[in-house]
Amino acid sequence: MVSEKKTGFGTKILSNKIYPIVFLSIIVFVAVLLLMLVNSFTQTKILAEREAKVTTVLQKIYPDMNDFELKEDIYIILKDGDVIGYSIIAVGKGYGGDINTIVGLDKDYLVKEISVLSNTETPGLGTKILETFFTDQFKGLEPQDVKLSKDGGKIDAISGATISSRAVTDSVREAMEEKLEIIKSNNY
């Protein structure tokens, strides 16, 4: 139908030599504009979601918490203005990609609880790092004990998921060692 209605003017445009380039440019321009628009909608949502997730996890680790401060990537957990703990985010290289873990420390710098925030491990296998039988092993440990038992530490790896277990364990230890120095030297 449309082709019948095509005027002489239309055919002239369609057979023009620069028309393909103009057409492609318009498509790209529209695409970029559209993506900018979608991004502006989703970006705020993505950031809010991330923030909310961290807050929920912190709330779970520290039921007494009523406020926290963020300094140099360290969450300082406050209860009525007193420091009751510190939380840091450890990033490890797992089997499928980055594993982000929130490490909750008490005010004596021992692990209170860890909670895996996000991961891309194999479902049903590597994702067992989310389960309490694995994460509970970290409770009350000092940094030097946060190692797999086969590396001389106190954490038993999940059988069949050593890479994921080691990624969490090593990243938690490294993050603790790095951030505890900052916490102690700045007296947060």
Binding site: V32, L35, N39, V91, G92, K93, G97, I163, S171
Partner: protein
């Protein structure tokens, strides 16, 4: 994780053996099952992919670090990367055609297929995801390409012999190729302790 990220050797071994594009990441499967019946074809295809992968990694890393990140438009990477790869493939094809006609005759027919080869886009996306530096990206592309070529050659060698084997009727062709890939993948899992 430290600022520098993994060492170059770790990236290289990781891409060639541990996280082999085909066996562990399932990238570039179409040529893996489609083209690989002759070793010479496998080698040409592998070389073409490696070349495009390398150039694409250099180009996309430059774009990612100097345009996308500074302007905070990382979300544009999919559309920009695929356009970069598509135009690179065209340029490489033209360049080889003009300069080396023998090379063009052996690589030529594979080049257009590479645009939709997920291995190339996959490697550039992995580079961005891991935030690799220029040198790390180059090594990761080289490792990815070599790992890919290696797999194509191994597979084509096995399939050349398979022609003479008495395979059950239903398993002939693709099904047995999948089973071979599974066994290879199983063997490659043994490398996972390397890094």
């Amino acid at each position: 994780m430290s600022e520098a990220g993994p060492s170059l050797i770790t990236i290289f071994i990781g891409m060639v053996l541990v996280n082999n594009l085909i066996l562990a990441k399932f990238l570039g499967l179409c040529p893996f099952f489609g083209v690989s019946k002759k070793i010479t074809n496998a080698l040409s295809m592998g070389a073409a992919v490696t070349l495009v992968m390398l150039i694409a990694s250099i180009a996309t890393t430059l774009i990612y670090r100097f345009i996308l990140v500074p302007f905070k438009v990382e979300f544009m990477n999919i559309i920009i990367y695929i356009l970069v790869i598509a135009s690179l493939v065209q340029i490489v094809e033209l360049f080889i055609k003009r300069t080396n006609i023998t090379l063009y005759n052996s690589l030529g027919i594979y080049l257009p297929l590479i645009t939709t080869n997920c291995a190339v886009l996959g490697v550039t996306l992995i580079n961005a995801q891991e935030n690799y530096t220029m040198l790390q990206s180059i090594v990761s592309a080289l490792g990815g390409g070599i790992g890919f070529t290696l797999m194509l050659i191994i597979m084509s060698a096995i399939r050349e012999r398979l022609e003479f084997a008495d395979t059950p009727k239903s398993m002939r062709g693709l099904p047995i190729a999948f089973i071979i890939a599974a066994i290879l993948s199983l063997a490659y899992m043994g490398f996972s302790g390397l890094i």
